[in-house]
Amino acid sequence: MELRAADEGAIRERPESFPGVKEVPGCRGCEPVRAVAIEGSEEAGWVGTVGHLSVFAWVVGLSVAAPPGRMDVLGVLCLAMLLIGYPGAIRRLFFPGGQIRLWLPVLLASLAAFPVLLLSFGWVDGELAAGGRRGAVFSGLRIAERALVLVLAVEAVTSSVDIAQIAGILERIGFRGLGFSLGVAANLLPSLHRSWVCARESLWMRGGFRAQRWRALRLLFLTVVGNTLGRSREIAVAAECRAYDPERSRPAPVRKGRLDGWLVVLCVASVLGVIFLG
């Protein structure tokens, strides 16, 4: 649960209305401290992490399982559900940061035009040629529609579920310590970049890759990884000093929504329905 600054006044007035906030007794002479209790899971309104991932799996499942004749209708259904459920996703997809992402509509238009162009030049035959120009147009539209639906679903799920939540789920299915490693990895990225820049500049000053390319590349790799491993050992020592134990650490909390269970049931049932009933 995220504690917003605007909530702080309300929490002070009515702490009992905020189930996630608990009073922790302060030390002698100190006031009690109000802290956000991080439990194994936390409430996230109507749809939580599992719900968002179910919707994504539903879209992918329908795209794979749909019979050829039904994909038009199912694609439109998926598109409508995504636009209703994630109204901001299409804007973020086509206009990230207020500027148009031009390559995406160009790519979709190219996909739609691809079968027609192939047919016009006579480069294909078989199933596509048998359908004629009209068949090629519909084929192109289906390809573009499916690509748009899936890209939109990826945008929706990545904007609704953060990486720590996915790491939390992976920890629960066996990847213990992945959340910790992900934190370390995010911490190491700038250090890795610095190490890479320093090693590359040093190599350049000694002639770069002009002679003994293979040896130079190997030394560059060894230097960068060696430096990063040195930094990582400091992190490991710091974690051990704070008594971090991967065996006893709890996985990152996963946000639960009120509709998650229903969404899972609906998504699984509809995909199974499409598979078995057509």
């Binding site: 795209s63 390809i143 990884v225 491993l229």
Partner: protein, 200 residues
């Protein structure tokens, strides 16, 4: 898979490296659409993961590094992350299977793991092609293959054999080379970092 704090941190280093390779040059190569860019990326990533295996010589470590790299791929610019994420995870899984099957304690075992991992890139476009673009796209592909084989004066069966042989052979060679080199580089790196040939 249960690792100590030090092992987790070591795996994080190699996951970060693979992730960084996928985020920066990977995005550029995929955007440029260069041929065999998937093979280059898979071989580079598996090379890093297999060097990591020398540091954490336990079952599942390559898969763990792959999972970390796939999660870091979410930081990548643009919305085309689903295919690469599945690819990274599957390549790591295939390499892990290769290590499990061959024991994972020799250069040959690393070469087999690398070859298996990179071989996934041969199947990957077909899988993601079906998921992303549907059966229509497969019909176009098969039509193009027929047309190309006719224009080269080959029958379809002969063309398929040649295409598959070159398609898979290039990957086996690249993956095996990556695994073989990873074994040697990992040994040198272990000596440099710990002054020994086994992780601390």
């Amino acid at each position: 898979m249960r690792y100590s704090t030090r092992e987790l941190v070591s795996l994080a280093v190699f996951g970060t490296l693979w992730g960084a390779i996928e985020i920066v040059p990977g995005s550029v190569l995929h955007a440029m659409g260069l041929p065999l860019s998937g093979v280059v990326m898979a071989a580079s990533g598996l090379f890093v993961a297999l060097v990591g295996r020398r540091f954490v010589p336990r079952a599942g470590s390559v898969l763990f590094v792959g999972a970390l790299a796939a999660l870091l791929k979410l930081f990548s610019v643009g919305s085309i992350v689903l295919g690469p994420m599945i690819g990274i995870f599957a390549e790591a899984g295939m390499a892990e299977l290769g290590l499990l099957a061959t024991g994972g304690g020799s250069a040959l075992s690393f070469a087999v793991a690398g070859a298996l991992g990179v071989c996934w890139t041969a199947a990957h476009p077909f899988l993601t092609g079906v998921v992303l673009f549907g059966r229509d796209f497969m019909a176009i592909w098969s039509g193009l293959l027929d047309a190309a084989s006719r224009s080269m004066g080959m029958d379809a069966g002969q063309a398929v054999v040649w295409v598959v042989a070159v398609w898979v052979g290039a990957r086996v060679v690249a993956g095996a080379a990556a695994g073989w080199v990873a074994w040697g580089v990992g040994r040198v790196l272990l000596e440099r970092v710990y002054g020994t040939q086994s992780s601390g």
